[in-house]
């Protein structure tokens, strides 16, 4: 098992290296650059040349890449030119990461807590009203664009009803400024016993989590449903029934556990989709996370921030999939013994 983990981690390093090269080349092959964003329409051609020279953008691409890698090996991932000008790109990533993790966890909880039980019950009552309603709602979940749903949720629950906050991670008018410990606002409030700050951060998470979690919910619901339908017709379930095991034991140990394998795989894959979806959700909710930073960085051609964000997102995706693979062993003893 250890060898397997080490091999996968080495693969990760290779993937990161190749990706960094491709990303570097791709970003610089795009028209425009940070000089354009900094200059705006005010720069004269001479100023543009001076700006590109000062930023080293007039050097051959391979020189730029080796300089970049040289900086990376000393822990310098460059500085932001647009998202937060002058701030180290890694700092932009690190102080926004907890926001996106909080949001992703919120969305996953929404998707799993609703998706698995509803998928299971829909399978148990296949063809019934509950099943049909579930299928329709999951279809709607997939079909509605995330940004539209996000605007809709905000309009109803924040603008019209005023039940939940419309944007950001924390209110600016808290009685006491919230103490930051981990950067996870809900958790910070619990640690420091600033209950109002924790509750406020939680309220800020609800709408974006629902917006972001709708597609994963739909996917998890459908996979759970079809997986349970497949498993409950398997021979070993019939054998278990013939042996006289209680329904509860059959459902828990034989149906649900076996049906969970594809669900876990899909949930892992959904983490990657969540990171992509965060770009839209965070933009709509002015939620200062990695997704919002990605959107701004792309518009302003903030190369350093884009490089860090894309590489980190790829690393996260790869690591999550490794964890998913490892979790198979926990769910399916057959894999463990192999």
């Amino acid at each position: 098992m250890l060898r397997y983990i080490v091999r996968r981690l080495i693969q990760l390093v290779v993937v990161m290296f190749v990706l960094s090269l491709l990303l570097f080349l791709w970003l610089r092959s795009l028209p425009g650059g940070p000089d354009s964003a900094i200059c705006g329409e005010r720069c004269t051609p001479d100023q543009r040349v001076a700006m590109r020279h000062a930023l080293g953008m007039d050097q051959p691409i391979w020189v730029q890449y080796f300089k970049y890698m040289g900086r990376v090996f000393t822990g310098n991932f460059g500085y932001s030119s647009g998202v937060e000008p002058g701030t180290p790109a890694i700092e932009v990533f690190l102080h926004r990461l907890p926001a996106t993790i909080e949001l992703t966890i919120g969305a996953l909880i929404f998707a799993i807590v609703l998706g698995i039980p509803l998928g299971y019950f829909a399978a148990r009552r296949k063809g019934g009203i509950f099943d049909n309603l579930g299928i329709i709602s999951s279809l709607v979940g997939i079909a509605i664009p995330v940004f539209f749903l996000a605007y809709l949720l905000k309009f109803v629950f924040a603008v019209k009803l005023g039940w939940l906050p419309d944007s950001g991670r924390q209110s600016t008018d808290l009685a006491q400024p919230a103490t930051r410990v981990t950067g996870f606002f809900v958790l910070d409030g619990l640690i420091t016993r600033e209950w109002d700050a924790s509750w406020d951060a939680f309220r800020h998470l609800i709408l974006p989590s629902i917006a972001l979690g709708t597609i994963p919910f739909a996917v998890i619901f459908r996979i759970t449903r079809s997986s349970v339908i497949d498993v409950q017709n398997e021979d070993y379930v019939r054998t278990a029934e013939a042996k006289g095991l209680t329904t509860q034991v059959i459902r828990r140990r034989h149906i649900l556990r076996n049906a969970m394998l594809p669900v876990v795989t899909v949930t892992g894959l959904q983490v990657g989709a969540l990171l992509a979806g965060a770009v839209l959700t965070e933009t709509v909710f002015a939620y200062p996370g990695l997704g919002q930073a990605t959107a701004i960085a792309f518009q302003l051609r903030d190369f350093a921030v884009l490089q860090v964000l894309v590489l980190a997102s790829a690393a996260t995706y790869t690591l999550v999939n490794l964890v998913v693979d490892l979790s198979y062993a926990l769910i399916d003893p057959r894999i463990r013994t192999r």
């Binding site: 795009l30 028209p31 720069c43």
Partner: protein, 510 residues
Amino acid sequence: MFDPLYATDGESFRPVRQMMEGLVGFKPGTADVEPKLAESWTNSADGLTWNFKIRQGVTFHDGTKLDAAAVCYNLDRMYSQTGAGATQAQYWADNMGGFKGQKDDAGKDVPSLYKSCTADGDTAVVKISAYTSKFPALLGLPSFSIQSPTALKKYDANNVQASGEAFTYPAYAMEHPTGTGPMQFGKYDKTNGVIELDRYDGYWGDKATVSKILFKVIPDETARKQALQAGTIDGYDLPNPADWDSLKADYNLLIRPAFNILYLGIDMKNNPALKDLKVRQAIAYALNRKDFVASQLPEGATVALNNYPDTVDGWTKDVEPYDYNPDKAKQLLTEAGQTNLTLNFWWPTEVSRPYMPDPKSVFTAFSADLQAVGIKLNVTSKPWNGGYLDGVEANKPDLFFLGWTGDYNTPDNFLGGSLALNNPENRFDTGSQPWGKTLASEVAAADAEPDTAKRNAMYVELNKKLASEYLPDIPISSSPPALVLAKNVTGVVASPLTDEDYAHAVIGQK
């Protein structure tokens, strides 16, 4: 980044304007100069020496005193920028020219408007190298705000460096901006994207009426609108003109005086047909600007006759108006032998500017007009920061849209600053024309004329010639941007320069 010397964007200037002040300011709601940190000034007859009497009793936010020496320290600091600092101090380069000791590629000194500043009692004596109509108005630009010399030195303000494809800024610019304004820097909460300014109780003028101003970063325009509707914020800048009518009912919509210009640039470099005035005039006649302004632009927008708004000196209505006339356009194309004309037409995406809220609608309207008179178009759309601006400056398109929001109330800010007509190597390639150098010298001469009446007459003449003889571009419109505030927020005066004072806003009961 809060050191305005290195900033060029409106987002940076918005908080800076509450914290910092220049030697001169602008009358609320106008682009006209008024005293600020200089309570008065006089100048020599040749316009080369300016004596600014510095206001007494003014302190910086760190408690140090403003005096003439502090003013001169600031101006010398701006002039002495080197390396990355000089590259970043764009407003200085645009308005003052070179930096101390700066050489061009040929090894010659880059000329600078600024020469020196000497403290003489409570007077700062500023010498400049040539008279320009822009002086002293340009000292009101936020980039030239007077900052605390003590804080500038303490936090190493000049230490700007280039690193990779970005600039890094010293602690001064990131955490310790120190000016004389009614609000002082509180903190920048990067995690929440909120800039907090606090009232400065030692302010020399009327104290701020608000104790705090919070600037919240909400990049998406619809999200800004919903935040106002939800009551999370008290106002936001640049509402979409399409929302103006609906916002008026429930909020204070402040429409700024239009102080910008949108134009269709004609680059004569690559297509020989465009060197013919008749072809350029045909393009002008083909454009239905009146219809476009009425149907696509917000209330208060006007068709542009000159290359700057009508509130700026030297504006004249006595120019060739080029009223929409497709038949005349076709006739001119025939006379020029260009009935089969094809042009490379560029328009920008991923951008909205005060003078061009929706580039697509601009392109759609005018491309249809040009095709209607038989001009074929090779259309290219590029992201604003993704090749559009670079391409325009590299003389790639034949036709393109661009514009400018004025910095202060002088014609040269538009003709010299924005259009760069004083430099033959511009985005219209006027230098390749027989009249290119004449035009450049006419623009420079008008700017250098100290007599106001004579100068204005020169600009009137220049505007006429630009329309009838040169025509490097076709002015399209001036369009008023707006800002919107909650009904209970009053006392903010909309400024054509986006120089709004939020510190003295009055917050009433909701």
